[in-house]
């Protein structure tokens, strides 16, 4: 039995409609209730770094809007007409049919409907993402596997040396996904490798079609996506490197670059030169702001993260290993207690019970803002829902991302008493 959830910080598997939207000129087609899309993009999109509809998202997304008729009589015909008309009306390269709870409960044979379009050579794939089956992290993996199995069904790998597929944060669920993926791409490219990213601008169907030809898959993630890189290994024989921590700051990013370099067979002098150049730059900024880091009145004492494992782990390692801060609790060590839960209300109760010395720094979502006021802490939203932030191309990954994080934290502290 799953636990109840107070204060949602993720959504259901159909939330992976945003994974489809993160691929340029790709449109999800929902075989789901009328409100599913709007609720989901409202949570992981609009109210999470204010990520809007973009080219094909929001109310543009085709949907069968399953009603009483389809629940009683089945919705396969409505789905068939919706797909046929979407192909004519919506200007996209790829159409990803995703089911909601009602279609999966009623037992519509969506695979049969979609295969009839595939047999006619139409770029349509499907995944059964009924919301009761799992989270949007799980749904994200399901959609990627569907693309591998259906869109790349005929692909024969012809390995391009140095080509690396990048898999990492879940688009939209991570409000900083665009910036974070760009930063990982940039770091990988500096090693002399060729990053291939399906998600974000410049990716799309061309990047997807290149996936089978990579020298290896790079997964930068605690666990999300592991299923996909294993699947790619089975399907195309592509090796993968699983790096489980989002690299934030010089310590972790140096480790990351060395590990990727070693795996890819990049000359270690080259790797060290990249690291040195970045560290020189990074530390000159830290040196230049050392006064504020050390001497500002009312510095945060301890920190708490309430975030998914990407950020809980990545940010904690940075604050501990590079900035010299002490963790109080992480929903992820200096040995700190790590609690795992999907129930944000429970996490907040635990934090309320903590006796803080001085003013803590709460890194989490906008749900923590009122809690921060209660415990007289500083609060920064980094994880879903980051409804109190406008995010465009900001990144917290790598060297520059760490500097942005330092800027954001200490600007909060400075702004608060002025």
């Amino acid at each position: 039995m799953t636990q109840w959830v107070e204060q949602a910080r993720h959504v259901c598997s159909l939330g992976s409609l945003q994974t489809a939207l993160a691929i340029e000129r790709t449109v999800p087609i929902l075989h789901a209730g009328p409100g599913c899309g709007q609720k989901l993009w409202g949570a992981v999109g609009l109210n999470n770094g204010t990520q809007g509809a973009g080219y094909l998202g929001g109310h543009t997304v085709p949907s069968t809007n399953v009603g009483e008729r389809e629940v009683i009589f089945g919705g396969e015909e409505k789905l068939r007409t919706t797909i046929a008309n979407a192909l004519k009306i919506i200007d996209a390269d790829l159409y990803v049919v995703l089911t909601g709870c009602t279609a999966d409960l009623v037992g519509d044979d969506v695979g049969e409907v979609v295969r009839s379009f595939q047999q006619a050579g139409k770029p349509v794939v499907f995944a059964e993402t009924g919301g009761f089956k799992g989270t949007n992290y799980w749904g994200h993996e399901l959609v990627i596997d569907a693309l591998i199995d259906q869109h790349l069904a005929e692909a024969v790998p012809q390995v391009e040396e140095r080509l690396v597929n990048i898999w990492s944060v879940v688009p939209y669920q991570d409000p900083f996904w665009v910036g974070n993926l760009r930063e990982i791409n940039k770091l990988v490219a500096e090693l002399g490798l060729i990053p291939n990213n399906v998600f974000g601008r410049g990716g799309g169907i061309q990047a997807l079609n290149r996936v089978p030809h990579a020298q290896f898959n790079l997964l930068v993630s605690p666990w999300v996506g592991l299923k996909n890189v294993r699947h790619l290994q089975d399907r195309f024989g592509t090796e993968f490197l699983h790096y489980p921590v989002l690299p934030i700051g010089p310590t972790e990013t140096g480790r990351f670059l060395r590990e990727v370099g070693a795996f890819a067979g990049v000359d270690s002098d080259r790797v060290e030169a990249v690291i040195r150049r970045h560290e020189d730059d990074y530390y000159s900024f830290i040196e230049g702001s050392a006064e504020v880091l050390l001497e500002t009145r009312l510095l945060p004492s301890r920190f708490v993260t309430v975030a998914d494992s990407f950020y809980a782990l990545g940010i904690s390692r940075f604050l501990v290993n590079d900035l010299g801060m002490i963790p109080e609790t992480q929903s992820e060590g200096i040995a700190a207690s790590v609690r795992f839960t999907a129930d944000g209300g429970w996490a907040q109760q635990e934090i309320r019970r903590t006796k803080f010395r001085g003013r803590p720094l709460l890194i989490g979502s906008s749900w923590e803002k009122t809690l921060a006021a209660e415990v007289k802490g500083y609060h920064l939203s980094v994880s879903m829902p980051a409804s109190d932030r406008l995010v465009m191309n900001r990144s917290y990954v790598g060297y520059d991302g760490a500097l942005s994080l330092v800027e954001d934290i200490y600007s909060l502290v400075l702004a608060e008493f002025q």
Binding site: M1, T2, Q3, W4, V5, E6, Q7, A8, V11, C12, V27, G33, P34, G35, C36, Q38, K39, G42, A43, L46, N47, G52, Y55, L56, H59, T60, P62, S63, T64, N65, G67, E68, V71, T81, T82, N85, A86, K88, I89, I90, D91, A92, C101, T102, L105, V106, G131, F132, K133, G134, T135, A342, Q349, S366, W367, K369, T370, A373, P385, S387
Partner: protein, 490 residues
């Protein structure tokens, strides 16, 4: 079909009010057929994601300050609690209150729950919601999954009610049951009417002000004070104690005819609280009819006329200037039905020529049995082209591409972005009190002038943006996907 407060759930709008979501015609035809409730809605053979009743029901109820919501559903159905929490903070901020989080639990139904049922988990979640937050009432909202698998919500709630000192109230708002998301407001009001509102102990000088976020509170307090009345704002930001006493008020009025129909008429039928059935108070005609109807009910006609004369003298000269600046501009309106038909009138008061109106649905009648007053009013003016669509943007963008108005006035998030990409100046009415009464009308006029004066965002964006529709579609008739055969409601 009248309101039936003996049932455990409210009938959906399709069945109760003859609501439709597919139509293309004109205001006179709409009004003519609506009065006989003879309009048949049309289906589309292509649809885009719209919205559902559960979003409206739990979004609205979670705005009550001292309640918890338990959503018996997979976790995605409570995703709207995040938007709900943003709305909560906004409302608290404009009131100068301490900011709080809404309290909403999901039972997080999974696959085995869909096979074996999970009413025990629902009961545990209800108890946990009470233990954590000690709310004054707990609303249990249903979902497509709980509906399709046939969870016995009523029995589960009855059992847990025995253990808790506060009302535990089921709200039936399964998304698949209605194409009209406003059915969710009725579900919420049904729960309030049947389980929260108590019989009156006395009569007060309060007026139930049915609204959303209540930004114009101070202004309404001042206006009603002229009639020795005091507003009580519902439902967001109210308390259970305030809602319990709705039956004691002297009258109910609503900022939105779509929103107010069920609770307004329900309070009138059950407790004799008169519901003011008038135009909505946007612009001059709306405000004046609203005030006069209210005054009639409370016996303050002379005060109303005095107020109207005073306000007219204050605003009419300035309104003339605004009208001269806005005359010659053509606008299209796309909003929920009450706002759409009220704002068409408002735009005309401001001198703007409205060339098309689209409503997100259409109720052929309200719960008091009459065609919406705003539609009757417009049908006596020009015969304006009207379409009805549940936010089907492919249809609307095709239409706008053909009509090429100077201005698009919309309501609901996301809708103004479409037209901005087309280079059309767009104004989104997020606040239900935009264009409220006399001063609101002037302010709204200035907002339109500003939007038309500097269109640089729309102009620069439209040069670089491509619409998400094929050229083929943009050349088709806007209503090509509206099926010709008429579909009777189930």
């Amino acid at each position: 079909m009248p309101i039936n407060l003996r049932n455990s759930e409210a009938a959906v709008r399709e069945n109760r009010l003859g609501a439709i979501t597919g139509y293309n015609g004109s205001i006179r035809e709409l009004a003519g057929k609506a009065s006989g409730c003879s309009l048949q809605g049309k289906e589309r053979c292509f649809n885009q994601a719209s919205s559902c009743s559960s979003g409206c029901a739990q979004g609205y109820l979670s705005g009550i300050r001292d309640v918890s919501i338990v959503n018996h559903a997979p976790v995605g159905c409570s995703a709207d609690s995040i938007a709900g929490n943003v709305q909560r903070k906004w409302g608290e901020t404009i009131r100068g209150w301490e900011r709080t989080n809404i309290s909403l639990f999901s039972t997080n139904m999974n696959e085995s729950d869909t096979v074996f049922g999970s009413t025990e988990k629902l009961q545990d979640a209800i108890k946990e919601a009470y233990r954590r937050n000690e709310p004054k009432a707990i609303f249990v909202t249903t979902s497509c999954v709980s509906g399709v698998i046939g969870e016995d919500i009523l029995s589960a709630v009855e059992r847990v009610q025995e253990e808790l000192p506060v009302p535990v109230i089921p709200v039936f708002c399964e998304g698949f049951k209605s194409k009209v998301w406003s059915s969710g407001f009725d579900a919420a009001f049904h729960a309030i009417l049947t389980r929260v509102v108590k019989p009156p102990q006395r009569k007060t000088n309060k007026v139930n002000m049915i609204n959303f976020r209540g930004s114009a509170r101070e202004e309404i307090v001042q206006i009603l004070a002229r009639f020795d009345l005091e507003p009580v704002f519902l439902v967001p930001f109210s308390t259970i104690e305030e809602l319990e006493k709705l039956s004691e008020s002297a009258a109910s009025i609503s900022i939105c005819g779509t929103l107010g129909s069920y609770i307004g008429n329900g309070l009138e039928e059950k407790f004799g609280v008169p519901y003011i059935k008038s135009l909505q108070p946007h612009g001059i005609a709306g405000m004046e009819e609203w005030l006069r109807e209210l005054a009639k009910v409370v016996g303050k006609e002379a005060e109303a006329e005095a107020y109207i004369a005073e306000q007219r003298a204050l605003v009419l000269p300035e309104l003339g200037e605004i009208r001269s600046k806005l005359s010659g501009y053509k606008a299209v309106v796309g909003m929920g039905p009450s706002f759409a038909f009220n704002y068409i009138r408002v735009l005309r008061e401001l001198g703007v020529e409205v060339i098309w109106g689209t409503a997100w649905h259409f109720d052929q009648q309200y719960d008091h049995g009459a065609c919406p007053e705003s539609v009757t009013f417009l049908s006596q003016e020009d015969d304006l082209p009207i379409s009805v669509s549940d936010q089907q943007s492919f249809e609307l963008l095709n239409l706008l591409n053909r009509l090429k108005p100077d201005l698009y006035v919309s309501r609901h998030g996301g809708t103004s972005v479409w037209t901005t990409k087309m280079g059309i100046a767009s104004v989104m009415v997020a606040d239900e009190y935009s264009a409220f009464g006399y001063q609101g009308l002037l302010q709204f006029g200035y907002r339109l002038i500003d939007a038309l004066t500097n269109r640089s965002l729309a102009k620069t964006l439209s040069k670089r943006m491509k619409l998400p529709y094929t050229d083929w579609w943009l050349q088709q008739d806007s209503f090509a996907m509206l099926e010709q055969e008429e579909v009777a409601p189930l």
